[in-house]
Symmetry: C2
Amino acid sequence: MEERDPKSIRTQSFPMSGGDGTHSYARNSSVQRGGIFNTMERIRDAVVATLDTRKHFKKVVRIADFGCSIGPNTDSVKNILDAVKIKYQQENNMNNPEDLEFHVFFNDQPDNDFNTLFKTLPKNENCFAAGVPGSFYGRVFPRNSLHIRHTSYTLHWLSRVPGENIGEPNSEAHKEQFKKDMENFLEARSEELVPGGLMIVLGLCFSDGVPYAQTLKGFVKEIFLGCLIDIAESGVISEEKARSFEIPKYFPYFREMKEAIERNRSFSVEMIEEIEKPFEDGSISHDLIVSMYRGLYHGFMAEHFGQGLVDELFDRFSKKLTEFPLDDFVKTTNDRECVIVLKRNAL
Amino acid sequence: MEERDPKSIRTQSFPMSGGDGTHSYARNSSVQRGGIFNTMERIRDAVVATLDTRKHFKKVVRIADFGCSIGPNTDSVKNILDAVKIKYQQENNMNNPEDLEFHVFFNDQPDNDFNTLFKTLPKNENCFAAGVPGSFYGRVFPRNSLHIRHTSYTLHWLSRVPGENIGEPNSEAHKEQFKKDMENFLEARSEELVPGGLMIVLGLCFSDGVPYAQTLKGFVKEIFLGCLIDIAESGVISEEKARSFEIPKYFPYFREMKEAIERNRSFSVEMIEEIEKPFEDGSISHDLIVSMYRGLYHGFMAEHFGQGLVDELFDRFSKKLTEFPLDDFVKTTNDRECVIVLKRNAL
């Protein structure tokens, strides 16, 4: 077997804001939570349909959540646990599903706030939790050691800012990095999963054919970058510093995600769906946008610009946003969710 | 199988001082590290002698360290890994021990500083680490899920301050709590270990027959309590408050440890040894005693007395100690180490 060093893959780490304060990820991830709830039933059904508990599964089921951050995803894990119990009862005539025990692993970067995560873990007597530090773009588990893996809203985070010249947004380089990262992610997961094991991916993508500037993300990003340039022009930071601020993120178009998935031959694709997420009444507000940006980007920005500038930038961003009526945001195309269920082929 | 709720056992949690600052456990655990290095060879030999890798062991070996705190015990884990590799090579003619992968679990209370632990984990390409929050006096892993468990210098920490009336040191209640805790500890471990799996315990105990007051720990504790009473008499805290400060700790005599171990029938005792730890030149100093007390008790004291009093107390303690020549400490009886290796019986 080929030797791989799970820690050799160069990654940059950008933890969500920790703790549970006003600007923390835990309090500002309502969109993530919304997505999780909407697709829960779909995922539960897919797990029940595709899982074969008669092979490779014993009375301890090992489940991992990749890029767990510090809280809301524990709901997704519970959803998977429920599905596994249903399938065990169906296939094994198990009178007492309490005989089943779960080992649940929560993975994220080593500088994720694991201490907060551990304090918020749900209590469940048949479920034992562990935290796993490390980048999921490399191996973080032994071979053949897990039954079900899950990740939600994580794969748009690239392992690093791509390319040497980051002065200008370079979509082609970001796209290439996404392809490479997906390759590494799926390769590592295929080694870690038992044959017949499931990989569940919940993510965001753009609708095929919609230009970036017409998406909600593209529209808001333009406003945000405008604030940065304004600050640069006032002389507080150099324009070069402002323009070199780049986030290691890439939202794929749905077909790009599909291609990346299908490129790996270790899995069979049990489900790959694009789900429309229309704007609901009250689902968007100026404050919500500011909170989300803060929750997601605070860490990066403090690192790039220094802590002092972050508050000023968000004050400007907040004021600037209100110059646009809410309708301007509602008119953009919201991103789609993609729900993917893969099954590890037998060796 | 009897139903047990792993979280139902009431425990109090007293984390070591976190981080890596001057008063942190990481920087003030030289005695613990000394003990670990002295007994490493003995433990490695015992693992090689008793482990049967041909049964119940596959190419992924699961190892757990209980009460890992935030650093030095990773050395003990490496020692066990080395022993396992040696035995695999002996028994399986394994040309390439790199085929072996390790899943290593570091357990401690949920309020242990896991973030610091994760930052200090050694890099090893065949070794995957996870943190496991929870009291080891209950179940923290699924049944039948681990091959080797290890704990060093932890079992003298009781799960709680025993008894309702804690106004006076109550050795009998502490002793009873120790017996009960050991019972719970061994019962939980016996469920978590695979048949043939090893439980390694490294701990401190008193030599049978030596009165507490003649031990180093007893002698120092008297001085420390004296400082507390002094502060109470100066009126800063009530005497009741001072006298009700009690630490959930019990150092067993060697025979008590032996009895506790032998009471559990799920294990065979492969090794139980008492090792003398004579004072070496320069191994003891006034400053070292103060540092150790700070590293170990800072958390408790801040909780019981409030942060403000802790510095004053340690200033007094430091001054008071210097009234005793070093020879007074050297003349006491140092505690012994006990090294225990247990093997899980077949079911």
